[in-house]
């Protein structure tokens, strides 16, 4: 049977992708940020999964105001890096895992989470920047990736609680897949940032770190944080953090209706300000 071996959490700031693509990672501005991912890159090489289930949000790239799915699972065989207006990032195309994606969709939808199925979806920086941070600049990404989009752009966006429940349903789905695949689930976006108005540039280091503490130690309580707290304390775009709760909900110490596994091991924790407008947070949690 397949299983979730670990979860990875990281911000997905577009400027990080630009720094990688233009060879600026060793410049003084960027060096401390990329240093925080050195351990992570080695860890991923040593703990290579068979599939990455990557939770991110499309930034008005694949989805305009024509259609706004709350949760969308990428079921295609491959996904092209998107042109977000600056030209597509020079990164490998993303190879999907249609069989596992279809299995997760079937299981999760019948578990009452009404996902949208997507077969054509260019993937933007929300998906490719985490891959660059964790893998560097390979010729091909190390394994197939299932893109999973969450609407955090137009309100109403899903609650932290719903995301946390969805994570639990995703784990159940993975664990009922026959092939013995090692699956990692990644939650991306955040941390505190605001890209608009007179409050642009807001960073709340104290709130971010308290939120990380709670995400690790008491994820259920973290899932109950209401939207307004993210907006007020972590900036209008800090709401992206609800996506981390999908990954956290998929870990084996979480189970609303049954036996729970042991707490995960915190393999790595990193926090850095700034990357462009944003506070960067990063965690690796291993299932035990």
């Amino acid at each position: 049977m397949a299983r979730i071996s670990a979860s990875v959490y990281t911000s997905h700031v577009p400027a990080i992708g630009v720094a990688v693509d233009l060879g600026k990672t060793q410049e003084p501005y960027w060096q401390p940020l990329f240093a925080g991912y050195e351990l992570s890159k080695r860890w991923l090489e040593d703990n290579r999964p068979d599939v990455i289930f990557l939770v991110y949000n499309d930034h008005a790239t694949a989805f305009s105001l024509d259609i706004i799915p709350t949760f969308a699972i990428g079921c295609a065989a491959e996904f092209e890096p998107a042109d977000e207006g600056w030209g597509p990032r020079p990164v490998p195309k993303v190879i999907g895992h249609p069989e596992l994606a279809a299995h997760i969709a079937q299981s999760v939808i019948q578990d009452d989470f009404d996902l949208t199925l997507v077969n054509r979806m260019p993937v933007d920086h929300g998906l490719t920047v985490p891959l660059s941070l964790m893998c560097g600049q390979p010729q091909a990404w190390p394994c197939p990736v299932i893109p999973f989009h969450v609407n955090v752009v137009q309100y109403p966006v899903p609650s932290g609680r719903r995301c946390f429940q969805l994570g639990q349903a995703i784990r159940k789905a993975v664990e009922s897949y026959d092939e013995p695949l090692k699956v990692q689930i990644w939650g991306t976006g955040g941390m505190s940032h605001q890209l608009q108005g007179a409050r642009a540039g807001l960073i709340n280091r104290e709130w971010d770190n308290a939120w990380l503490d709670q995400l690790i130690a008491d994820p259920k309580a973290c899932a109950d944080v209401p939207h307004i707290d993210y907006v007020r304390e972590a900036g209008s775009e800090g709401i992206e953090l609800v996506m981390w709760l999908i990954a956290r909900g998929a870990m084996s110490d979480v189970n609303a209706d049954g036996a729970r596994g042991p707490a995960p091991t915190v393999r790595h924790r990193f926090y850095h300000v700034p990357a462009s407008n944003t506070a960067v947070g990063h965690l690796i949690l291993e299932n035990n």
Partner: protein, 151 residues
């Protein structure tokens, strides 16, 4: 029952909710069109003519041509859509976000390097942080010459 909007008292912040989205539908769809290179070229060649192809309000067209992102936001724009205008102009997200504060590009960049804008005084309207309406616009240019600005 009206939609619950607890975020209305966060200073310097417009949440892209259903009301804003209705107001800004065509503005944001116009922005989406700039993801195609051909459309970017046509827009750059004659902004007014390109904008006139879309059912935008005159205020929305003026806000786009003035690159006044605060006005665009008030008129229903969303930053991820508006970013297509910035991309067409060759601007980064940092340049776009900074342009909404009144600070120069250098001032904004330095604020971020110092750890970003503080949350203190910026949680609720009625406090006195740097993002509050009574403290706009921000940046040394505005602080140095209030008399000149009035004149």
């Amino acid at each position: 029952m009206a939609l619950d909007k607890p975020y209305k008292d966060v200073p310097g912040t417009i949440i892209f909710d259903a009301d804003q989205s209705r107001k800004g539908y065509w503005l944001n769809q116009f922005c989406t069109s700039l993801m195609k290179a051909d459309n970017r070229a046509r827009f750059k060649a004659n902004e007014r003519a390109y904008l006139d192809e879309w059912p935008l309000s005159e205020a929305q067209k003026q806000a786009v041509m003035a690159r006044d992102l605060n006005a665009c936001m008030q008129l229903g724009g969303n930053i991820y859509f508006l970013a297509r205008i910035g991309a067409t102009d060759g601007l980064s997200f940092q340049q776009m976000a900074g342009s909404m504060t009144g600070m120069t590009e250098t001032e904004y960049r330095e604020m971020m390097i110092r750890g970003g804008r503080s949350i203190e005084g910026n949680r609720h309207l009625g406090e006195n942080g740097d993002a509050q309406p009574q403290n706009q616009p921000q940046g040394a240019t505005h602080k140095a010459a209030p008399a000149a600005r009035k004149a």
